[in-house]
């Protein structure tokens, strides 16, 4: 029961109200080379990149048939996600975020 109290109820509202965090998600960023090939464009936002990877997973049926929460990477995905051969969907936002380092002020 303990984790019920940890629920991030307030947290999620905070992101939408915080212009900096919103900007982090939707600002167009120059992509690193490997992502550029995957996305087919030189600029993208973190949010779009996430949606693109997720739709790529769905289009190519990369979800593990025995556990849908796990994705088996193909070569293309491997190249952009730290060379992992498979990953859990839970991790995806973090993996994407790695390509979008915070800008130094």
């Amino acid at each position: 029961m303990k984790f019920l109290k940890m629920l991030p109820q307030r947290l999620k509202m905070a992101v939408v109200d915080n212009p900096k965090k919103v900007a982090e998600l939707i600002d167009l960023v120059n992509l690193p080379t490997m992502l550029r090939e995957f996305m087919g464009q030189s600029q993208s936002s973190q949010l779009n990149c996430f949606r693109r990877v997720w739709s790529y997973v769905k289009e190519n049926n990369l979800q593990d048939p025995s556990n849908k929460n796990v994705v088996n990477c193909d070569e293309k995905l491997k190249s952009i996600l730290l060379g992992k051969s498979k990953f859990e969907l839970t991790e995806l936002p973090v993996l994407i975020k790695l390509h979008f380092p915070k800008k130094p002020k």
């Binding site: 992101v15 939408v16 949010l47 997720w54 849908k68 859990e88 969907l89 839970t90 973090v94």
Partner: protein, 472 residues
């Protein structure tokens, strides 16, 4: 309607090409003439796609008008001159000239508008201005937001009186509404007092409009002051005024003031009607005071005021909100017996109450009952239920309902979206949560950012929980 001179057509045609030039010939554009004018040249039908200014005042459909986009007075004068000199049969209907004046006044200063009107009267005797002509000027004088005093308004009112159109109730109404829409509330109070002194007091509708506007935008003391001052002119608040004021204090949760006003209202010899009671009941609902809500209902019955549909909806909402679902259900029965058919709002309020009590299954059963009676649930109904089912850990039922919603293209609300995602993640159904995220964006239920950040924070929380060795 006059035939328009060649130059005008050219000007109109040019304005298609040049979007904005300073040359006077393109200072006017032709509005699309309506096709039912007999002597309208056919060529004009080709000009239907004219770029017309949308903020120009709307005119009667059968009056072609000139749209001015230059505030220059002499340009306007010469355009008008060429219009009347080159047309053989200019209309005698003043509304044609009113629309010209209105158009010019939308871009020019008040002084120029008055000069332009004088020019039109002088150069074109068939035109005799009517009340509406002066009302155009009155609106202009009231509509500049940064004006510090009423001198312009006074000028126009004097002009009206001197031209044989002393301001009437219509003028008062128009001036006050325009002033209020520009945020000049203090000046509208000043003006209404002046006009009341000068025998053109506001009628009930204008007065109540002003009160409604003031309670929304000014402090209670300002409104009280205004009401007191108006009593000197014999204008007293009526039942509608009191309802407006009670509604306002109820919305700001000041029920004590509402009760006081109710007393004043009775002292003044008014009998509270259904609207007054509904308003007060709503006030108690906002505070979740179930017993007070019931009391208002009982008082209505004692006073012989017949409750309407809204009364019952408010009552059921209030009781459900304050956790008295049993009673709320009882009134659903009462309501039906009295011939008021419960609607989606009634049922949704009740479902909300049941879900709060944790009786999500009961709420789901109510959905069936409601649909059985031919009442169509709305998006709020579904979202309330979805939220309730997920909270009550009935995820399977929740997912079932979500599928129904998805089929019906019903949007998710922020709350139920979050609850559903959380329930899915908690049950290890991350892939399904991703699908819900997709639907939320596809159906435009939420913005991309809102949908994503909820998902992201949910996953973050899952990872943390796992790190701490909790089984998720």
């Amino acid at each position: 309607m006059g035939k328009f001179p060649q130059a005008f057509r050219r000007a109109a045609a040019q304005s298609l090409l040049k979007t904005k030039t300073s040359s006077p010939s393109s200072a006017i554009q032709e509005q699309t003439p309506s096709p039912n004018l007999p002597y309208q040249p056919q060529k004009y039908s080709s000009s239907k796609n004219k770029p017309t200014k949308n903020n120009a005042p709307t005119t009667k459909p059968n009056a072609p008008s000139i749209i001015f986009d230059s505030p220059n007075l002499s340009d306007a004068k010469s355009i008008f001159n060429s219009l009347i000199s080159s047309s053989r049969n200019t209309p005698s209907d003043p509304s044609f000239y009113n629309s010209i004046l209105k158009s010019f006044s939308s871009v020019s200063s008040l002084q120029d508008s008055i000069l332009f009107l004088n020019h039109m009267i002088k150069t074109h005797p068939p035109f005799s201005p009517n009340r509406y002509t002066y009302h155009t000027l009155l609106v202009q004088s009231c509509s500049s937001p940064d004006e510090q005093d009423l001198s312009n308004v006074h000028n126009v009112l004097n002009l009206m009186a001197n031209s044989g159109f002393p301001p009437n109730e219509g003028s008062t109404d128009l001036a006050l509404r325009t002033l209020c829409s520009c945020g000049r509330e203090e000046q509208s109070i000043e003006l209404v007092k002046e006009l009341s002194e000068k025998n053109s007091p506001p009628d009930n509708y204008t007065y109540n409009f002003l009160v409604r506007h003031l309670v929304k935008n000014r402090s209670v003391s300002t409104v009280d002051c205004f009401l007191q001052d108006m009593k000197e002119f014999g204008i007293k608040p009526d039942l509608v005024t009191y309802t407006i004021m009670i509604d306002n204090v109820c919305n700001s949760k000041n029920l004590r003031e509402a009760t006081r006003l109710l007393g004043v209202l009775s002292e003044e010899g008014y009998k509270p009607d259904c609207y007054v009671y509904n308003t007060i009941m709503k006030g108690y609902c906002n505070l979740s005071h179930g017993s007070q809500v019931l009391e208002v209902y009982k008082k209505m019955q004692d006073e012989g005021v017949k409750p309407d549909h809204y009364t019952y909806n408010t009552l059921i909402f209030g009781l459900s909100k304050s956790g008295r679902v049993k009673e709320a259900k009882k009134y659903l029965q009462v309501m039906t017996e009295l011939g008021h058919f419960p609607d989606a709002i009634t049922y949704t309020s009740l479902m909300n109450g049941m879900c709060r009590e944790g009786d999500a299954l009961g709420a789901l059963a109510l959905l069936g009952e409601m649909e059985g009676k031919g009442c169509i649930p709305n998006s709020c109904t579904y979202n309330t239920l979805l939220h309730g089912l997920c909270k009550a850990r009935l995820l399977d039922k929740g997912v079932e309902l979500y599928e129904v919603m998805k089929k019906g293209d019903i949007k998710l609300e922020t709350g139920s979206y979050g609850t559903l995602l959380r329930a899915l993640c908690r049950n290890g159904k991350v892939a399904e949560a991703y699908e819900v995220f997709d639907y939320a964006i596809e159906s435009k239920s939420l913005t991309d950012v809102a949908a994503y950040s909820t998902l992201e924070s949910m996953l973050k929380w899952m990872r943390k929980a796992r790190e701490q060795g909790l089984k998720v």
